[in-house]
Amino acid sequence: METTITPRSLGQPGFASDARAFMAVIRREWTIFTRYPSWIIALLIWPLIFPMLYILTARALAGPDGSGLAVFMQTTGATDYIGYIIVGTTVWMWQNIVLWDVGFALRNEQMRGTLESNWLSPTWRFSYLLGHTGPQIVSMFMFIAITALEFGLIFGVRLNGSVWMLALMMLAAIPSIYGLGFAFASLVITLKEANAFVFLVRGLVMIFCGITFPVAILPGWMQSFSKWLPQTYLIHGMRAAAFSNASVTELLPDLIPLLGFGTFWLVLGYFTFLWMERRARKTGAIGQY
């Protein structure tokens, strides 16, 4: 009787292998990102365009002598109205980009046809989403640095605080901003389309979080609602860190809720992913375009 020798698999399961796979996802994502040269233009132009809308509106409303700006600064407590606007609009753009980018990461893979071929491997599946986030965070920090540089050069906006405190605020915001992105990414796989949800979330951030005005001017119920949005604390904390030279202690009222929301959204994002993965195995949603 003819005997055949069954080949032995070269794969070696373990934590180190999963870590290597995670790094491979990051490397793949970064390589693909850099192969679309249009990202450089987007990175240079977008930080200027969106805040300009509000800055020019502020100038127009300030009157011919600019006296309205003094009233604005008195109301907000800001020393630089441009810096005040930039912080709010940058946080809005950050959340918006994460919803489109991380939120549609799995959906884009699904439409490309590569999601199933990733899913066929023995790698921890959440690492596909987590790995996509790494290059996104790097590109977002580049985006924020370019925003600061461009407005510094063109409008003379100067940081009046610690760059480290500013970085601390941004790092503390990562879990909530990306946790929401993870939950969103899992829902998009199931619903196939979720543009309405993106518009809703960014609309809420725009109105309730005070991107160009202080939350204090909102009616009472709106102020209460704004406390449930982590972006409110991020915008407030970043303004304090960048322009009021706030210390860690002074930032704690913003940092603590931000980290609390971050834990909530990360856990929710992870469990939504697990739910989606389980549901996809039952319905075949992964392979459906």
Binding site: P7, R20, A21, S117, S121, P122, G284
Partner: protein, 352 residues
């Protein structure tokens, strides 16, 4: 370790059906019942279900090539997707390399190399080499081993000269070779190949069939789905014919053909074919399983039928066809092929 590389018992997969396409009418009384209308306000009706795979039993020996042959929508791909853990069965069990596809899904994935139908399973914005290095990491191959393995597969797949070019510049055949190299990376004992030659030119398809035969020689167990009879016939040790979610026959290619050996296959080429002629021919007692299809390239109709005694029926056949401008262009009496077996079993052609 299990004696079988792949073993499935009563595998069933049901999906929620689109309106009007379910297996059975929705339960819960007639649509005109006033009681039902009242209930609909606050109670969800049971979903209509569509059964894609309906009780598949499979036992694939280690080292064999098993062909799963069936028309589009027969349940081939759904079966493969369950075996490779992308889908969970509604009921039934399956083991791959001895591992349960639901409870030991990660062990199943480690045992498998899978090529799914379609060429977009790799990244077009990465080079062939980058794709293979990426998937080597996903399959947990240590870096040093992966480098050697990627080089080896690039060489074997004849991609050496183009390995550092972006996949978007590759031909369909080259992309398919990268997809197969990806499946072979971890040197898995079992390969699932879902329509691997679909969309390839004849030369690339032939080269791929040679490769599949080589992989068998190296000890891989291969489950191959295809709707090309010649491919299944040429490569498979055994063939399962699947239709409407069920395996309706399972044997060696020769064994399957022997089932209709007592029949003769009459193959006609006809111009100006009319549907009423088919009805007339089907009415003849000696004629069975008549299938007519238009040949796109010649504008003629190929008409296949099975008969127990072709000599007795031929004169009447010719007479029935040659009327009202319909002409018999060519006629052959041939040995039964797998397609004839399929027609015999299902009453329809494989590519209907």
């Amino acid at each position: 370790m299990s004696d079988f590389a792949v073993e499935a018992r009563q595998l069933i997969k049901k999906f929620p059906a689109r309106p009007g396409t379910g297996d059975k009418p929705i339960e819960g009384g007639s649509a005109s019942s006033p009681k039902k209308k009242r209930w609909q306000f606050w109670k969800k009706e049971p979903k209509a279900m569509f059964t894609a795979v309906n009780g598949v039993d499979l036992q694939i020996q280690r080292g064999e090539i098993f062909g799963l042959l069936g028309p589009n929508g027969a349940g081939k791909s759904t079966t493969i997707r369950m075996l490779c853990t992308l889908l969970e069965p509604t009921s039934g069990t399956a083991h791959v390399n001895g591992y349960d596809i639901v409870r030991q899904a990660n062990d199943v994935r480690r045992s498998l190399g899978t090529v799914l139908a379609g060429e977009r399973s790799i990244y077009w914005k990465l080079t062939g080499r980058e794709n293979l290095e990426y998937f080597a990491a996903l399959y947990h191959i240590p870096t040093a081993v992966a480098k050697k393995r990627v080089d080896e597969l690039i060489e074997r797949m004849e991609l050496k000269d183009r390995a550092n070019e972006l996949v978007e510049k590759y031909s369909t055949g080259m992309r398919q070779r990268v997809a197969i190299a990806k499946a072979l990376l971890a040197r898995p004992p079992i390969l699932l190949l879902d329509e691997p030659t679909l969309g390839l030119d004849p030369q690339a398809a032939r080269r791929l069939r040679e490769l599949i035969a080589e992989l068998k020689q190296e000890g891989h167990t291969i489950l191959l789905t295809t709707h090309y009879m010649e491919e299944a016939d040429q490569l498979s040790d055994r063939i399962g014919i699947i239709d409407t979610g069920r395996i309706i026959a399972l044997d060696t290619p020769e064994g399957l053909k022997r089932r209709i050996n007592q029949k003769e296959i009459i193959r006609l080429e006809v111009s100006g074919w009319q549907e009423y002629i088919a009805e007339n021919l089907r009415a003849m007692q000696e004629v069975e399983n008549l299938v007519a299809r238009r040949q796109a390239e010649t504008d003629l109709w190929e008409v296949n039928m099975q008969a127990s005694n072709s000599r007795a029926v031929l004169p009447r056949l010719v007479e029935s066809i040659s009327q009202n401008g319909t002409r018999l262009v060519n006629m052959n009496i041939v040995k039964p092929s797998l397609e004839d077996v399929f027609i015999h079993l299902t009453g329809k052609a494989l590519r209907d």
